[in-house]
């Protein structure tokens, strides 16, 4: 099998679902499991799946962990398996992103302690969804049809080195007028992973390495990405007062 930097362990309904969603976004994955029947089922559905003994560190190294793999999803349905796998992978590669699924708050904490980067509790999230449907039906319907329905996307755009945008305040970009995009905020990695919201009133000046978070139709996002990489995006203030 060729090299792919995203792997999914666990090939039940969850693994299948995540692989499908990732494929829709153009991310190709390999699925691994130690259950022969499940792997067979996935292969039949046209997904790339294989059997691996996840308890053997050498086997994990063979499939690229500690080498080229960047993200791993641990989606086994039993918590001990996820925990064991997280510990093994973390020992092999301290920088790899490990996303785990958990079934309760306490198991989430254990997985975080074992070294998971992100723990997702599907039941908690579904419960919140149901509550949102009751509390804010219009908004949920809107988000479901647009953002989650893939008409509108969220994108993170990194400001490249030597960009002319360096030093411009976030508010001068005016992406809502020029691109039909709404700027949610910016992440300045030098200040940590916190998202600085565009409407927080903080006058943030961008510099290279900052990550812009925008929301809007995908074609507009592509247009913005191109403009940023070609460095053809001029801040509005430069145009109005030369």
């Amino acid at each position: 099998m060729g090299r792919r930097d995203t792997l999914i362990f666990g090939s039940g309904a969850l693994g299948h679902e995540v692989a499908m969603q990732l494929a829709e976004r153009g991310i190709q994955v390999y699925l691994y499991s130690n259950d022969l029947d499940e792997v067979g089922g996935l292969l039949a559905k046209g997904l790339q799946a294989a059997i691996v003994n996840y308890m053997d560190d050498d086997k994990l190294r063979e499939i690229g962990i500690g080498n080229w793999v960047k993200t791993v999803f641990c989606l086994f349905s039993d918590e001990p398996k996820n925990l064991f796998l997280t510990l093994s992978i973390r020992a092999l590669d301290p920088n790899l992103k490990i996303v785990c699924v958990c079934e309760s708050t306490s198991s989430g904490e254990r997985l975080m302690a074992a070294g998971a980067t992100k723990v997702i509790d599907p039941y908690e999230i579904s419960g919140q969804r149901v509550h949102e449907l009751i509390a804010r039906p219009y908004l949920v319907e809107m988000l479901e049809n647009t953002v989650f329905g893939k008409h509108i996307d969220i994108a993170e755009i990194e400001i490249p080195e030597h960009s002319t945008l360096s030093g411009t305040p976030l508010s001068d970009l005016q992406l809502d007028r020029r691109f039909n995009l709404i700027t949610i905020g910016v992440v300045d990695l030098e200040l940590g992973n916190q998202l600085i919201f565009s409407n927080s009133g903080v006058a943030h000046c961008m510099d290279a390495g900052d990550i812009l978070v925008v929301i809007g139709p995908s074609q507009e996002i592509t247009r913005l990405k191109r403009a940023v990489s070609e460095d053809s995006l001029e801040p509005i203030s430069n145009i109005t007062d030369p």
């Binding site: 969850l14 976004r25 509550h131 949102e132």
Partner: protein, 530 residues
């Protein structure tokens, strides 16, 4: 003939009279209808009245109550009599009995005979009098009549009247009556032992010269006192034979007592869930709870906690005792039962009161079944269902679910988002799902409000630290290529509206910003000081 015509005419007049029906309905609500709001007050009043008269009966034994006491007694008896007559009145509709016979006679072209019809109506009415509770009512009244003073002890029957007004006592009686067979068996066994022991003791002891047993009644009394393990000791056996009888009787008595206890305990053990469920039904009824959660697993618990923190009322149904216990610990009304049980759903008011049903069980078959059942009884109901497998979402929608939430799909979506944009994931996700202080909120533009007819460019969102996300407007529209307009099934989203966009009444303005900013914005809008 003219008399029978008169009767029929009267009957039809009563049938057609709105005042008569209204009055009868009001009396029914007061006395019988367990769902009428006035009923609890009436019950409490009657309980107090009964207790006061009984207390007076006790007090009167050694003291004199005087004229005031007599007057009170008269008033109380007057109320009892009125109640009895009203119950007699609302028991059935005599005019319907007569009209039924009349119409039947007309139908088969037979001459209508008025006397048999009246007789039947009377017989139907008299069925009320022989009901157990009606007899108790009558016995509570009769002893007040002076010539029948010797029946005063029957005044205690007033206490039995309390059955009518308290649900727990009637539940107790119902539980015991379901154990009829066991209780009858026990009673026969007990009677047999009592009789045998009484005969034996009489046989051995009655002719002794220092005997305490003077008649057969004494020996029956002794047998019961001994068997029940009470053992007063006023009558004791003196002969060896008598003592042997006593030993056997004591052993048999232990058996009888434990048998009796176990019947009662098991009866309540079997019924306790039902009794609790009835409590919940009446609580649900009283508080007008309109949200029903079927399934209290992880998802149900999260939803319930959030609804509770919003101060919304709901009731939980779950087939697992463990889950019901968790719900009760958190103070939520919960019923042990399966959502598939239609009677249970009906008792909770699925056909009338419930406007929102959440099917959150881990089994899609159950979710589909509950959805279909609920929709059948109440086509207006809003149903949010959990779909555990992707392929069942369509089935749930077809069964009538308004919304489906699929845990795996949600997880897939999140995982995919995470793989795509990991840096600001937490913040963006929190923003979209309303879990952070910063979030997306909708503000409705009211008619005649400051914003009605306002251009977007004229509102200073920036100064208020808000970003307009879009406007949702009623009415269909086509999604367009440029991504400025999206169709939302009967509504239209204008994404990122331009400065020229004009707001109209009933639009939903979707903003993103800190919750305080949104609250402040709403507040300003309400006061018209934008």
């Amino acid at each position: 003939m003219s008399f029978s015509h008169q009767v029929i005419k009267q009957c039809y007049a009563i049938q057609g009279s709105a005042r008569y029906t209204g009055l009868k309905g009001a009396v029914f609500n007061l006395l019988e209808n367990p769902r009428a709001p006035i009923r609890p007050y009436f019950d409490i009043f009657m309980i107090l009245l009964v207790l006061t008269t009984v207390w007076m009966l006790i007090y009167e034994v050694k003291n004199d109550l005087g004229q005031l006491g007599d007057l009170f007694e008269m008033v109380a008896v007057g109320i009892f009599i009125i109640e009895y007559l009203l119950r007699f009145w609302i028991f059935n509709d005599s005019h319907k009995v007569i009209l039924d016979r009349y119409e039947r006679a007309e139908f088969i072209n037979q001459p209508f005979q008025v006397w048999p019809a009246l007789w039947q109506a009377l017989l139907e009415k008299l069925k009320y009098v022989v009901q157990p509770l009606a007899i108790i009512d009558l016995l509570a009244i009769i002893p007040s009549y002076r010539p029948l003073r010797f029946l005063r002890i029957f005044l205690l029957f007033r206490l039995f009247k309390l059955f009518r007004y308290t649900r727990s006592i009637s539940e107790f009686v119902k539980v015991l009556s379901e154990k009829r067979i066991e209780l009858v068996t026990l009673f026969i066994f007990m009677a047999f032992i009592t009789f045998t022991a009484a005969t034996a003791i009489f046989f051995f002891e009655a002719d002794q010269h220092d005997s305490q047993i003077s008649g057969f009644f004494d020996s029956v009394y002794w047998a019961l006192v001994t068997m029940s393990t009470v053992g007063y000791g006023d009558i004791t056996p003196h002969t060896t034979e008598g003592r042997v009888v006593t030993l056997v009787l004591i052993l048999a008595g232990l058996g009888v007592i434990s048998f009796f206890t176990s019947i009662i305990v098991s009866a309540f053990g079997e019924k306790i869930h039902e009794i609790r469920a009835h409590r919940i039904y009446s609580e649900v009824e009283r508080k007008r709870i309109d949200t029903l959660i079927c399934g209290f697993g992880r998802v149900g618990q999260v939803v319930a906690d959030r609804l509770a923190s919003d101060k919304r009322q709901f009731v939980v149904v779950d087939p697992l005792e463990e889950n019901v216990r968790i719900a009760k610990q958190r103070g939520y009304p919960a019923v042990l039962g399966d959502g598939v049980d239609t009677d249970l759903l009906l008792s909770l008011g699925i056909d009338t009161r419930v406007t929102r049903l959440l099917c959150l069980t881990g089994d899609d078959v159950v979710n589909v079944y509950i959805t279909l059942t609920a929709k059948q009884y109440n086509p207006e109901i809003e149903i949010i269902s959990r779909a555990n497998h992707r392929e069942n979402v369509n089935k749930l929608h077809r069964a009538g679910a308004s919304h489906c939430v699929a845990p795996y799909e949600v997880l897939g979506l999140i995982a995919a988002e995470y793989a795509g944009q990991p840096v600001a994931f937490e913040a963006v996700y929190g923003l979209l799902t309303g879990q952070s202080h910063e979030g997306i909120e909708a503000v409705r533009i009211k008619r005649e409000s400051v914003l009605d007819g306002c251009r977007m460019g004229d509102i200073d969102f920036k100064q208020r630290k808000l970003t307009p996300f879009g406007v949702i407007r009623e009415g269909d529209c086509e999604s367009n290529e440029e991504g400025t307009r999206y169709s939302l099934q009967g509504r239209c989203l204008y994404f990122n509206p331009s400065e020229e966009f004009t707001l109209l009444a009933d639009d939903l303005l979707v903003l993103f910003g800190h919750e305080y900013s949104v609250v402040h914005f709403r507040d300003c809008l309400e006061r018209g000081t934008l």
